[in-house]
Amino acid sequence: MSELTLTLLRLGFLALLWLLVLSVVAVMRRDLFNSPRMSRRPATAGVPAMSGGGGRSQPQQQESPPLPTTLVVTAGSLKGTTIPLGQAPILIGRTPESTLVLDDDYASGRHARLSLRHGVWMVEDLGSTNGTFLGRNRVQDPVPIAPGAQIRIGRTVLELRR
């Protein structure tokens, strides 16, 4: 085989190597431009879809309000964190197994649980030391969460949003 062909093959090899590297980079770009915000619209039928971009209408006008879709931390060290709500219950506490791992000295290891029962999100205390509060009331057994109601666990305040 001639020297020229060999050199061309060699350069082609290096070019292909870089092509692979660059295509991996291209795949990674999706992390930036296909962020959760863009892909948030629920694809499944179980969760009612938000209507378009500015779809946060006034929910108090509706008779049977749609299920909340996110759990938002409104105060505490995790302020600003959101968790999508599905069918699965959400365990809140300091243990790493929790869905929402609190970094809060006043929270217990397994503090509280949110679960969807009969189409309503309920909050229950799991025997925590400092208690779980819905509004001003201390929660023991599962209590339905009204939209906009604030759940307080230690220094953390949570809220359900649509």
Binding site: M1, L6, L9, R10, L11, F13, L14, L16, L17, W18, L19, L20, V21, S23, V24, V25, V27, M28, N34, P36, S39, R40, P42, A43, T44, V47, R56, Q58, P59, Q60, P65, T70, T74, K79, G80, T81, T82, I83, P84, L85, G86, Q87, A88, P96, E97, T99, V101, D103, F133, G135, R136, N137, A146, P147, G148, A149, Q150, R152, V157, E159
Partner: protein
């Protein structure tokens, strides 16, 4: 692109398959080029090599497709590429040394690749949830320590080339430190996830820095002590740098306190200086690093010097695979494989490989960001850190940035234990990334850590204005809500 984006959440498995195919194509191409360069003919084993590599990749890909469908699609192709190119380079050095196939290092490496892929497959199938690993935090610590110190046990431990990091089992030798790496990462992650609250408490302020409390220094000092023991008794600078660096890095990630990094660096520099003063073998390593060309040192530092000359003769695009003479360097297939690659693939090839390592580490750190539990975050970050540090130590050693140590270049260097351990690391990362990228049941997309601009503006002002919230979202309860600020 647009049509693929709309449907159900993308798993990226088909993309992974395409990338794997390209990676294997590159490895086969490299194999063919080696044959053309050395013998002027296409190598006879080309199809066999490609089929073998393809079978390994297929097994792993199918396992991922079935058991971890949302795993990161780029990790597997990149690992496969590095493993494949490493095999080719080892084979090329075997050719240069005139070894027959069955006694060649490439054959052994191929066996170990198969074992590594099997181990990775087993992990992906059996480990349904990485959080299970956090149950074994302290068992992992004990296992890691035992594995790390196993080479010091008489009869089992073997001293090869001045470093006591091997154990002999029957006919073949194994570096238990490589597996210890994974065990200790599990321990660090499990320990720090529970201890980070107290470790991030601040103590006295010195200059501009908030120092941690003095009584929290225990774990750092313990890690430092073990690291120094490895350095002194096993004479292995690389492993000690790897473990200490990983511990300090994870401590930083867990606590977000720069002071830990500063303290860790000071401790390491202090320990390294002390070791340099006290031990002749450390002094020799430093001399090889700083003055490899000096007349009285040159007879001992030939390995580094030849490696540097090899890379220099490679230049920008290399001599071409099979055209250089990398086998002249001592341990050109294991410790010095980076120099061998540099000679035949040039700076262009080396940068591509370094970028692949950087991308693997980036994917690992991205997985850590996406992971929904603290343990998973720390584990993914720790595993990526080990890979990053290991590449840094090896490449830094070969290019004379830091003293040369006996670590292996992940996936590429000849060495079974390292290959096995790195495939296990990739498998665990795939598992974590699967759970990080898997849509939450019924909702989609991991939304755990949203950037600040995703928070509705009424929450950003820090005033917890309940009144506004009620107006905007409607509130069923008329009670006043209590908010602790």
């Amino acid at each position: 692109m647009a049509s693929a984006r709309t449907a159900s959440p993308r798993t990226g498995r088909n993309l992974e398959a395409v990338l794997i195919a390209v990676a294997i194509g590159l490895a086969i191409g490299a194999y063919a080029l080696v044959g053309l360069g050395v013998n002027d003919a296409l190598p006879p084993g080309m199809l066999g090599y490609g089929a073998g590599l393809g079978a390994l990749a297929l097994v792993l890909h199918l396992a991922v497709r079935r058991f971890a469908p949302y795993a990161d699609p780029t990790l597997l192709p990149m690992a496969m590429l590095l493993n494949g190119l490493g095999l080719v380079m080892i084979h090329r050095i075997d050719l240069g040394l005139g070894k027959s196939f069955t006694e060649s290092a490439a054959f052994r490496q191929l066996m170990w690749s198969a074992l590594g892929v099997v181990a990775a497959t087993v992990i992906i199938i059996w480990l349904h949830d990485h959080r299970v690993l956090s149950r074994f935090t302290y068992i992992a610590m004990a296992a890691g320590m035992v594995l790390l110190l196993l080479p010091l046990v008489p009869f089992i431990g073997k001293n090869i080339n001045g470093a006591r990091i091997w154990i002999g089992l029957g006919g073949f030798s194994f570096q238990p430190g490589e597996i210890a790496k994974i065990a200790l990462t599990i321990f660090f992650a499990g320990y720090l996830v529970t201890a980070r609250d107290s470790l991030s408490l601040v103590g006295r302020k010195v200059l501009w820095m908030q120092l941690p409390r003095a009584k929290d220094l225990g774990p750092l000092l313990a890690a430092w002590g073990v690291t120094l023991a490895v350095l002194v008794f096993e004479r292995d600078l690389g492993t000690s740098l790897l473990f200490f660096g990983m511990f300090v890095g994870l401590l930083y990630i867990a606590t977000e306190r720069v002071s830990w990094v500063v303290l860790g660096l000071l401790l390491f520099v202090g320990g390294a200086l002390a070791a340099w003063q006290l031990f002749a073998h450390v002094q020799a390593r430093v001399d090889f690093w700083l003055h490899p060309f000096r007349d009285d040192i040159l007879p001992y530092s030939t390995q580094i010097v030849q490696g540097v000359f090899g890379m220099a003769s490679g230049g920008l695009i290399g001599t071409g695979l099979g055209e250089g003479s990398p086998w002249r360097v001592l341990y050109s297939a294991s410790d010095m494989i980076f120099a061998s690659l540099g000679e035949e693939m040039g700076l262009t090839g080396l940068f591509a490989l370094l970028l692949v390592y950087a991308l693997i580490v980036e994917r690992g750190l991205r997985t850590a960001i996406g992971a929904r539990d603290g343990f998973g975050k720390l584990l993914a970050a720790g595993l990526s850190l080990t890979l990053a540090l290991q590449v840094f130590v090896v490449v830094g050693g070969v290019t004379r940035v830091i003293p040369l140590t006996g670590l292996t270049l992940p996936f590429m260097a000849a060495g079974g234990s390292s290959l096995l351990a790195n495939w296990m690391i990739i498998a665990i990362l795939l598992r974590i990334s699967d759970s990080a990228r898997r849509p939450a049941p019924e909702a989609d997309g991991p939304l755990f850590d949203l950037p600040v601009d995703e928070i509705p503006p009424e929450l950003q002002d820090g005033s917890n204005s309940q009144g506004d919230d009620r107006d905007q979202y409607g509130s069923g309860n008329d009670q006043e809500t209590v908010v602790v600020r």
